[in-house]
Amino acid sequence: MDWNVLWDGLPDHTLDGLTRGAIYALVALGYTLVYGVMRLINFAHSEVFMVGTFAVLGVYAALGATVGMGWPAVVGITLVALAAAVAASASTALAVERIAYRPLRRKNAPPLIFLITAIGCSLTLLEIFGFVLYEFFGSPFGRGVVSIDPIFPSRNLVETDLINITNVELLVMVSALVMMVGLDWFVNRSRIGRGIRAVAQSPDNAALMGINQERVIMLVFVVGGAMAGVAALLWTIRYDVTKFDVGFIIGIKAFTAAVLGGIGNLRGALLGGLLLGVIEVYFSVLVDSSWVDVTAFVVLVLVLMFRPTGLLGESLGKARA
């Protein structure tokens, strides 16, 4: 393990990890919200993220975006892409809820069945983008890596010996923080947010208080999906690439982040995401990169074995443990 390599570039590596972690955190929000309210691990959430990245691609293609456009065009296109990604992800999440989860809720099915159905949804979505759409439309669908033109150009804002900060990295960090603060305010301060917390803690009592459980659930899926959509846009800007199964590994890491921070805990999702991103980058610098993906799994297993409530503890559904 070459500690010097890590030490020399520590600020850069840390920023890299934080950027990556911020994206994990945004996706983690979807997992943590749904789990907090429904006690369900939404396996299909990873594909909700993936759909968002393809939506961005679609917008770039539709608007004829090219590299080297002027800033006004770039900003405009990026905003449209943002809207598209959010819409695509949120509607995918909602569709999964309606088609798969709601009928099972009606039948009061046991948790194992929900899990299997979620896996089925995930697989179906994966294959739609990895194969079915390819059969009808060809590229960019299919199993290959899809590179995305870097419409949003990356510029160094700060260039010192100690650290380089690009505008993209800044954008990712700021966006994630803003979204997190917004969501936190929404869940903890608004009336609708109170409804969400009520259903998370005690669905029957919430119903007695006149809260429409179905609406809350729909809302949670939409919000979680929207967050994933934002993450998808930031991901495409930062990494210029996507793939039909990009959701899988991001999903695992995001879920790990949610568990690490304390599932059901929104601030935990942020903390867990940032922490996991940094750990991953440090580890990949120190060790052969082929072991990097294991990091998430090992962290996951260790956290669940020794501190299943996560760093910040569960919060949304605490009363129901």
């Binding site: 006690r39 369900l40 691990i41 088609i99 798969a100 009928p103 099972l104 809720r105 009606r106 039948k107 009061n108 099915a109 046991p110 948790p111 194992l112 069945i113 899990l115 299997i116 159905t117 896996i119 089925g120 949804c121 995930s122 697989l123 179906t124 979505l125 994966l126 294959e127 739609i128 194969f131 079915v132 029957d204 879920f255 568990v259 052969d288 082929s290 072991w291 993906d293 294991v294 799994f297 090992v298 996951l300 297993v301 669940l304 074995m305 020794f306 299943p308």
Partner: protein, 375 residues
Amino acid sequence: MNQIAAMTDKLRNRFADAPPWVRWIGVAAVLGFAVYLPLLDIPGLNVIRTDYGGSGSDWPSVLFLVLIYMIVAVGLNIVVGLAGLLDLGYVGFYALGAYSVALFGSPASPVTVWIAEKFGLETGWAVPFALCIPIAIMLTIVSGVILGAPTLRLRGDYLAIVTMGFGEIIRITARNAESVTGGAAGVINVPKPPGPEIDGRDFFNTVDAERWYWLVLAVLLLAIVVARRLEHSRVGRAWMAIREDEEAAVIMGVAAFKFKIWAFAMGAALGGVAGLLYASKYTFVTPQTFVLNLSFLFVAMVVIGGAGNIWGALLGAFLITYLPERFRAFEDWRPFAFGVALVVIMVLRPQGLLPSRKKALEYKARQIEAEGIKA
């Protein structure tokens, strides 16, 4: 679908109530059919495209794979169906069984090469096949206990995620630890079971797939006997009590932790045996075989068939293995079809295709309960 289910339910009830001699004849008939199956020529059924020669997809080979997955289904049914433990990493045990026989039994594996050098044994030395079996069983049981001990106290879906992580950790380690496991290239020359030489060839070879089939059939029957004995004993009762209400079970004197670990260990051992037999027929192992999706496939087998019911699990194994082979022409569509089928079957019939008679009642009751709450 409900009419078919009602018919099978009636059939099963009549069979269970028939006098013993009728049941024995029925069992013998089924067994005879099973033994004769690879030699049969059923139109439409054994039309399997021979894409790949050798250990590819001829009828007896497909049947072989069906039986291998049936052993997996029996093992996983104990863990998921009887004891109610959500295990999404069963492929890990399957892989451990396969790698046991590969690493210890193949003269070309890094482990046997290292042992041969260390102890000055002749080149081409390897652990005899028969000894690999207890090694595989021990390895899988020990890893099952190591995995289970700290995690079995976790809530259901957490356990699912931890086991999933375990399965992936096994695969990625197998892929990366080249010096021990042969890395992504895997290990070749996995040994076959010993047998007399016929026509100048070993008894178990890559062409006469029927013999492999009969071997695995014998192992499967043994596994079924063991599983049924467990199910219809105080052990099975304890597992079901734990699945129904663990805290109440413990207060009624059930040593829950002990029985959960045993469920894990039994499941692990069966998964390992299945993996070992698989590796032995295919003569090589690579990490790519043991992907996470296979774990999902395994659980789907048990759940689609009807978790908790061993016959349902066997049916699920058959469907999941046979259908993709039957429709190999549509190979690329298969994962999509599988995903859609999973969702459709689970949403329309969550109790599975062949639920145990008691489970069918449970689901009806759950539904009535749900409607009651709504009203």
